[in-house]
């Protein structure tokens, strides 16, 4: 059968090659082995852009719009906090961004920032009243911490009490916690200042591994 054998002579097609337009014996085009180049050279160059008053005005509008949008409060930029050196000019270049609050009635409830952060505004008012309290708390705690047994339980109780009293205020709970940690640290035998001045604790022992360590 003509064209059915695989190894017989040239490759044959299952259809009439004349239908596509190749005459018998004509050279077939090259096989494509790789994707086309990303920036092929074009023989036909593109038509020049439209120019005119309208186009110029729209161009100016577009660039203006771009610039204005960057200054709007809707533009949320990622703030780069990692400043190695604080520059003097930064103080003068900081621009105040207008703050925008959306109309909460038109948005789902979960969009609204939680009450915690709202009361953050009320913190400075409470700071004054809370300070003497925290001092008292600290003094109380110093007494309590002398009794080693109930330390941690009582500090937790204090925390709970303050939370219940105010209903929020992470800061207030944090302050006694911080003091607690410091107190706790000083309680340990391994005080951090032990190895302060040039005592190279580990330096000498690496040389002689024969000696037993005590």
């Amino acid at each position: 059968m003509a064209g059915s054998g695989r190894g017989r002579g040239r490759a044959a097609f299952t259809f009439d090659i004349g239908a596509i337009g190749f005459s018998k014996g004509a050279a077939l085009p090259d096989v494509v082995c790789q994707p086309p180049p990303p920036f092929p050279s074009t023989d036909n160059k593109p038509v020049p852009l439209k120019t005119g008053e309208d186009e110029d005005y729209m161009l100016a509008l577009k660039q203006d719009l771009r610039g204005t949008m960057k200054r709007m409060p809707y533009f949320l930029a990622v703030e780069e906090d990692c400043e190695a050196i604080e520059r003097y000019s930064k103080k003068y270049s900081e621009k105040k961004h207008a703050v925008w609050t959306p109309d909460w009635r038109r948005l789902p409830r979960e969009m609204k920032p939680r009450k915690k952060t709202k009361k953050a505004g009320a913190k400075p008012k409470k700071a004054k009243s809370s300070e003497p309290k925290s001092n008292l708390d600290v003094l109380k705690k110093i007494e309590e911490l002398e009794k080693k047994d109930d330390e941690e339980e009582k500090s937790e109780d204090e925390k709970d009490k303050t939370k219940d009293k105010e209903g929020e205020d992470d800061d207030e709970a944090e302050e006694p916690e911080e003091y607690d940690e410091e107190e706790h640290e000083e309680e340990n035998d391994y005080i951090s200042s032990y190895f302060e001045d040039g005592d190279d604790f580990g330096a000498g022992s690496d040389d002689n591994m024969d000696e037993a360590t005590y």
């Binding site: 038509v47 161009l59 719009l65 038109r106 979960e110």
Partner: protein, 514 residues
Amino acid sequence: MTQAEIKLCSLLLHEHFGEIVEKIGTQLLRAGGQALRGIAGGTGLLLDQVKKALCVLIQHNLATFRPRRGGVEYEAQCGRILRILRYPRYIYTAKTLYGDTGELIVEELLLNGQLTMSAVVRKVADRLTETMEDGKTMDYADVSSTFVRLVDTHFVQRCPLVPEGPQSPEVPPPPAPTLLSSDKDMYTVPRLSLVGKGKRRRSCEEEDGEPRAKKQKQEGESSEHFRDQAIVSAVANRMDQTSSEIVRTMLRMSEVTTSSGAPYTQPLSSNEIFRSLPAGYNIVKQVLDQYLALLADDPLEFVGKSGDSGGGMYTVNLHKALVSLATATLESVVEERFGSRCARIFRLLLRKKHLEQKQVEDFAMIPAKEAKEMLYKMLSESFVSLQEIPKTPDHAPSRTFYLYTVNVPAAARMLLHRCYKSVANLMERRQFETKENKRLLEKSQRVEAILASMQATGAEPAQLQEIEEMITAPERQQLETLKRNVNKIDASENQVDETIFVLESFIESTVKRP
């Protein structure tokens, strides 16, 4: 949503709203409707940031929300984000139709997404007052009246209202967009407290007592306006100025009566058209009739005759006009990209619909080898497609007809996809160029700032000269080149957007057609 569209949307969001909004927008586009937690998990951003970004997106009508299965689901609107490319055109159109006031109103609305009427009027009046001479101020009434006109022609639309009644535990269900009638109610004298349909917000207690409901920029009407513009300019190119004026008059008269997406306008009688022609055109009735007959007989079929009463009833075939515009775009793309011989083959296929290889060579009068090559080039770029017609049930290739054809909607979609890619590439290139020369740009900005401050405090020309010389001549050259390139790229983006508009309108009208 194709990858190209998503890429373009993220570039647009990044440029106009920043990185955080871009990440969230992209996440919503990729993954569809999601709840707040899903978005935060997908993007890895803090919940606070996600909330802020969603607020921004919703404010600008780029995302919507709806209550769903014990929560709220958010979705991004891809088409709406791509409209950002068209903002300059909207503003310019408002300027040509409604003057500077209209331009500023539209600009403020586009910048802020949604605004109350009072806020818009106040801002625009302030801006206009700044540009006016000393002592003059812009009256709020003027701005309000322009605003009313914008709403009447549907360039500006009112946002959906929030019902005042008891709200569902999680989210206020937004009702359907308001009807025209309530827009008209809006413009009763502001001092009265507005009585609405029970869904109205209370009027705010401001001095001018403007109603508090929000307005947003309406896309649909502007698109129709652009479409009309395109049709009128096509007629002007094909025939002459007078016929384009006639078509413009017809379109203007049918603005309100035609629903969006209608394939043709309502029939207009020749007498009506004659009465509504603009004052400058004093042509006789017979001449008008001749023009109309010419337009109706034109093979492009922009205008059709639908009856004989009233001196002849004529309609504008909107769908057919869009088809012609899209086809013309395709033809010109083929011509510019492949050459005029390819364009000849393309036009031949459009006219004859289906042709075999041999017939193409004969009809186009192009040698076989070249015709073959051109057809395959167009086939590989999907401008042309193959249709198989088997002679036998076993579809044997030797006994099958292979016909070349042009599928216009498919080719239009392919071209639209390419347009999106081009705009994305243009934006990337522009951002790259700007980033490359960032140092130089910052330096020139600083020099300008110094110059401005020195001029304000009164400095000698010599000092100013010295400061200007801080930027050396080669740097100045570089800046010039950069500016030229960026302008060129921006202008290209605007122009590609025009093509996008034509193609999108065409695809939309083919989809809507019953």
